[in-house]
């Protein structure tokens, strides 16, 4: 069936009426797909006619209508394309595997509503997990989340049939290799140095300065050609370890360095993996959050598709947090512009059982029992994208921050809307007082002053650039009662900048340093809590995340530094362009 559709699609033909009644198996065992060319006759008429009744396959009568096979986009009034046929193929495969339709109902309305909103009942054994995952992908509500070509379904089904790679081996975890990076500009790091870790769409950079933070050296690019959405610095247990999530067409990999970038772990097997029964595969790691100093081997990763993973052994093995994954709301979360991502993980330092995650678009979820159970915490947050403006969940939250000394206080930047909670996210109050726009992505809290927070508003959903071509960071010093622009030293003309959700960062020094990276590849910094700014670097690939590091223990005699061919970094702030070459370390 998939190969027949593939041939039709190759010829530019969309079937538009793919259903089991149109499939014929000849006595020779040949499968034929019928009724090509009826495409224009289906559509509205069939929709009307098919609301009468739907005989099931088991009853032996033919299915007269096509409603149960119609893809959700058709009900939304969007045109049918190849991917609508792949939905139909998914329905037929479900039918073949289980003997029943994935979306049933007594009336046409019930059926169409199930197609638009419900998830099919999962198919367990004897249906192989590989087949179930193919069916699930065909039945993704959004055409972009499905296979894009019938040939891909064909290949996936053949893979299931062969059993060669459809049965993943999650238990096999080969030990990571170590990769020493030669011909990459490195910075030599010593105690008392101050670093900025900068993740971009094409690699990571390490910027070095001292406590003055006025002159910078740049090392990198690390992970040449990979997007680095998340970086973290782990100084627990005397470590000086950088963690990086790296993503490109070869997959998403979590890597770490104990020598400030000279060598990195290179996992052989993917460690963060969705279990086979989920049918999902990892697309990206959006956030790396470290457990507290009393949990030095605990880390969390917020990933896309939206899920939370945890490790209790310092990243050696990871598991899916089922309490959140099995939440009944999950099937109704909708992808945002960046996909369906769990992009923010916030731990309460005063209570290890309490943590928060933010999902675009799902909203804020909280656990108070260490991740076993989760509740939606979105009361008071407006959802512009929903008919009910204050739903229980479904908000597109862009960032949440928590004040460590006042963990009851959280601030939130929504897809439109700025909010504060003073009761552990039970209730949210609008605090968009005096901002040019309440749309934005990034938000940070002052590490010492619970009244103080920073944001970078952008104009709108449609025009995600700083308002009026002026780059302004906004600060509140009364927990959102009012906001003031901080602009001295930032470009105020023709500056159509975008600051992404993790590209605004603060250090822990006094006075506070603040760093902001833009999608145009500029990095600005302030050493005086935002009063004045300077450009640290320009010409970077689009900046995804910025993290600061104060090097507190000595790193001068780290293993590996003497054996590495060291390319001295320029003392000026210049872009590092040397090509990455990797070599395996001999063990």
């Amino acid at each position: 069936m998939a190969s027949a559709l593939a041939r039709a699609h190759d010829r530019g033909i969309v079937h538009r009426d793919f259903k089991s009644a149109n499939i014929l198996v000849t006595p020779e065992g040949l499968v034929k797909v019928l009724d090509f060319g009826l495409a224009r006759q289906v559509g509205a008429q069939v929709f009307e006619a098919s609301t009468k009744s739907f005989a099931t396959i088991e009853s032996g009568s033919s299915v007269s209508g096509t409603l149960p096979y119609m893809a959700p986009e058709i009900f939304r009034g969007e045109p049918a394309d190849y991917r609508s046929d792949l939905w139909g193929l998914g329905v037929v495969l479900y039918e073949l595997a289980s003997g029943r339709l994935p979306f049933e109902g007594r009336t046409g309305f019930e059926i169409s509503s199930a197609i638009l909103r419900e998830l099919p009942t999962p198919l367990g054994p004897p249906v192989p997990p590989g087949l179930w995952s193919v069916i699930q992908r065909c039945l993704a509500k959004e055409p972009t989340q499905r296979y894009q070509r019938a040939g891909e379904v064909q290949a996936a089904l053949e893979a299931v049939q062969s059993g060669a790679i459809a049965a993943p081996e999650p238990d096999r975890v080969a030990p990571p290799k170590t990769t020493i990076l030669h011909n990459v500009r490195h910075v030599r790091v010593r105690k008392g140095d101050f670093l900025l870790l900068v993740g971009t769409t094409k690699g990571a950079f390490i910027l070095k300065s001292n406590l003055q933070r006025s002159r910078w050296e740049a090392g990198g690019p690390y992970f040449h050609g990979y997007s680095v959405y998340a970086l973290a610095y782990d100084n627990r247990k005397g470590r000086h370890r950088i963690w990086a999530s790296t993503q490109n067409y070869w997959g998403t990999w979590l890597r770490s360095s104990d020598d400030y970038g000279k060598s990195w772990t290179t996992p052989q097997d993917q460690t963060i993996r969705f279990p086979a029964d989920t049918g999902l595969s990892l697309k990206n790691i959006w956030q790396i959050t470290l457990g507290g100093s009393d949990q030095p081997d605990v880390m969390y990763c917020g990933v896309e598709p939206a899920a939370l993973f945890v490790t209790n052994d310092d990243g050696a093995t990871w598991s899916l947090v089922r309490g959140l994954f099995d939440h009944p709301h999950r099937p109704r979360w909708m992808p945002g512009n960046g996909g369906l991502a769990l992009h923010t993980v916030v731990l309460d330092p005063s209570d290890r059982q309490r943590m928060y995650v933010a999902i675009s678009s799902g909203g804020v979820y909280r656990t108070t029992d260490g991740g076993a159970t989760w509740t939606a915490q979105n009361r008071g947050i407006r959802a512009i994208n929903m008919p009910n403006k204050y739903p229980e969940f479904g908000q597109c939250v862009h960032k949440i921050v928590l004040h460590p000394a006042h963990p009851e206080r959280l601030l939130l930047q929504n897809h439109w809307g700025l909010y504060r909670s003073d009761d552990y996210a039970e209730n949210w109050k609008d605090i968009a007082n005096g901002v040019p726009s309440d749309f934005g992505f990034a938000m940070i809290m002052h590490p010492r002053n619970p009244e103080c927070a920073y944001i970078v508003p952008v104009e709108s959903d449609e025009f995600r650039c700083t308002c009026d071509g002026r780059m302004r960071v906004y600060r509140t010093r009364n927990a959102g009662g009012s906001w003031e622009p901080l602009l001295r030293g930032l470009p105020q003309k023709g500056a159509y900048e975008t600051v992404l959700r993790d590209a605004l960062s603060a250090d822990t020094l006094d006075p506070l340093g603040i760093y902001v990276g833009t999608r145009s590849g500029q990095l600005f910094g302030s050493r005086d809590e935002g009063k004045s700014w300077g450009r640290i670097l320009e010409g970077l690939p689009p900046v995804l995340c910025v993290r600061s590091v104060l090097v507190e223990d000595t790193a001068a005699d780290l293993p590996g530094t003497t054996t590495t061919r060291f390319v001295p970094a320029s003392t000026r702030s210049t872009r590092a362009t040397s090509k990455t070459k990797t070599r395996r370390r001999k063990k």
Binding site: A156, E158, P168, T201, Y249, T266
Partner: protein
């Protein structure tokens, strides 16, 4: 004669730097040949496929000059002397 894989630069870290590797065991399908490749060079499997066992979206596998997506996928026949090439698709180089 065994089956020969052409390894792209990004994966040579897992083949000791070699751009071509042979796998024995007389594979008859692409699936057999890949299994043999992955057991000899473990880092390659999870870079080619997702945890659900699907070839990654922007990765293509060619037998000779033919993309296997159009020649029977993993059940494509291979014989002694077949040359298999792994390449990222042009669509993969986004942003």
């Amino acid at each position: 004669m065994p089956v020969t894989f052409h390894i792209p630069g990004a994966l040579r870290e897992f083949t000791g730097g070699r751009s071509e590797v042979d796998v024995g065991g007389s594979p008859t399908t692409l699936a057999d040949a890949l299994s043999a490749l992955w057991s000899s060079y473990p880092g390659i499997r999870d870079r080619m496929t997702t945890e659900q066992g699907e070839i990654r979206e922007h990765i293509n596998v060619f037998i000779g000059d033919e993309n296997v997506r159009y020649t029977g996928g993993l059940m494509s026949r291979v014989t002694d002397g077949t040359k298999i090439t792994i390449l990222p698709a042009v669509s993969g180089g986004r942003l």
